[in-house]
Symmetry: C2
Subunit: 350 residues, 2 copies
């Protein structure tokens, strides 16, 4: 689909979101121009600030409008912790998760790579280069919970994890397909099937079945608790991890931490059937504590823009951005640079 | 309750379970004798091997018999991975989890401490000394799931997390009580209330309410994903963590990894109301790959015996075991020692 023009939706969001998105756009514009393509941008004011101003999270007409775009570049959303004016979690659920669910972003793709000199907190990190394919539209994230007698000593609160053959199979197949294109061609399923028997066995059976379609790809299984141990003792063992929505949330933050922090962690919320636009966002949040100070690292947002280009068929442009990021990151020596200085350096390196 | 005699149930289990339990008993016997007390032991054959021989996991009469003891020392259970003779997870659920639930082990206590020279995989671990109070009888562990149209393309599998005010309040109060006895007097709630709204808010409200009873104890909140980041970038920040059954499972394995591995991680499954015996076990599993070779590290089992003595009112004896362990661990230089050599050294150091 390498069209000669990209109709891009941009949701800068709150806190450092707009700052890092400005740098991602700087790099994206340059990379797209070099392809001789056109980048058309439509910016959407959404997030905690917008909610405070209007009471809107994601109105239907905005969602419909977003659906007409080729892809979405998303910054970060969320109120400052302790801002009691905003009901807790409402922006995350009614904007971010609503987008993932409404646009059927079933592949939540999170690559983890340790670049040369970037500081991992691990003493001997070794080579870290894996991707997590996190399911994005099911599991404990479906919002299917309730409470009975809330606020009384007899309160009961439930959360239901919903898992379907349809939902599990498509993301498992995506993980195997991605593994088949990588050097090590290995998939690790992460779950907790000894406790979460029904969901766990659906995942296990699906992996066994889909593995038949990919004879060149090996696979194994780890309980999520054991996976966190290997993440800090032997992260090199991982190639492609496939896992459910909640386990994926947890281990991708850990994966970001061991590869030098969430300032570098990119992600794609991908609808592989292309029935709706996919959305690309840094894994980090809106970081209200450092917002407005030009301190935020835009690298994760820039790498997310590379994932976006890759998804839209501009693989060469995506590789060029990644190479410029790697070149910049490998030169980092801990000296503080402003958000825009990092963006400028990466753009210059294209 | 420092009785002059302890009626101990011992469940050595499978794999390395019997090997590490032998050393824990060696140390326990010596420590108890020094108190002038008597240690009466009843051993129970339970676990994967026992299931293969008899088809029994935990018969009712055995459970009733266990209930008459003062405490349970538990090794590890579980079949070798890939042993298809044993239905996956059955030993874990019908023995280990059944004990935790039947004996109302609502406080799953897991201390994490980095001893001097023990190898943390972190480059700059700093001082690590926290405890995790993991809820042990509710949450996603209740076994309340199901599947519809299993094995078909229309399969739906569910897992229900059940959380009650009763269950959450008692474990949160326990965490605050433990924090009030520690130097830093700080409790961190770990959950994911921005997504798991109903369960998360029950936990949050309960922490706010119980905190009123402990004006000297401070508290904060972390999403579970963020908690895994801090676990590898700033573990010193933690004092007492209180969390649900599944999040506790995940972060305590990670906590064990950063403090030198699960060879050292002890745990107690504690019924604080003393309506049934509490159970103490190393966090590690049965490790079939190294079983029978005298290679297993018995330290976690020995530290679990110390937690057991502490629970039974023999605080001095518990401290002596811990001190002997610390002295031994600080001398370790990576030279391999047999399971019994480690047990002998710690027993000698009492
Ligand atoms: C903000 C939150 C809802 C979100 C999630 O839990 O998925 C975030 O942690 C992430 O990983 O993108
Ligand atoms: C064996 C398994 C059921 C158990 C759990 O998940 O609680 C173990 O991982 C643990 O942490 O004690």
């Amino acid at each position: 689909m390498s069209a000669s023009s990209i109709d891009l939706a941009v949701i800068p969001g709150d806190g450092i979101g707009p700052e890092v998105i400005a740098e991602a756009l700087k790099v994206l514009e340059k990379a797209v121009a070099a392809e001789g393509a056109e980048l058309k941008q439509t910016h959407y004011q959404l997030g905690a600030e917008h909610w405070l101003a209007t009471g809107e999270t994601l109105p239907d007409h905005v969602l419909e409008d977003l659906k007409t775009r080729d892809a979405i570049l998303f910054g970060a959303v969320g109120a400052a912790p302790g801002d009691t004016r905003i009901p807790s979690g409402i922006i995350e659920r009614e904007l971010l998760l609503k987008l993932r669910f409404s646009l059927d972003h079933y592949v939540n793709l999170r690559p983890s790579r340790l670049y040369g000199t970037v500081g991992s907190p691990l003493a001997n990190p070794g080579t870290i280069d894996f991707i997590v394919v996190r399911e994005g539209t099911e599991g404990p994230y479906v919002g299917n919970g309730g409470s009975l007698r809330a606020g009384t000593p007899h309160e009961v609160a439930t959360e239901v994890s919903l898992n379907t053959a349809h939902g599990v199979e498509r993301v498992v197949r995506d993980a195997f397909r991605r593994a088949s294109l990588r050097e090590r061609k290995h998939v690790t399923l992460v779950h907790k099937h000894n406790v979460l028997v029904f969901a766990g066995h659906l995942w296990k059976r699906t992996v066994e079945a889909v593995a038949q379609e990919f004879p060149g790809v090996t696979h194994d299984y780890l309980h999520v608790d054991a996976a966190t141990i290997f993440m800090v003792t032997d992260p090199s063992r991982f190639d492609v991890i496939v896992t459910d929505n909640l386990f994926g949330d947890i281990i991708t933050d850990l994966a970001a931490a061991i590869t030098g922090g969430i300032g570098l962690a990119a992600s794609g919320n991908i609808n592989m059937d292309r029935t709706a636009p996919s959305m690309f966002e840094p894994v980090h949040g809106s970081a209200p504590d450092i917002a407005g100070q030009g301190k935020a690292d835009p690298t994760a947002a820039i790498l997310s823009a590379a994932l976006l280009l890759d998804h839209l068929g501009y693989a060469d442009a995506a590789r060029r951005i990644e190479a410029a990021v790697v070149a910049d990151v490998e030169k980092r020596d801990g000296t503080a640079r402003s958000t825009s200085a990092v963006g400028d350096a990466i753009a210059a390196g294209l």
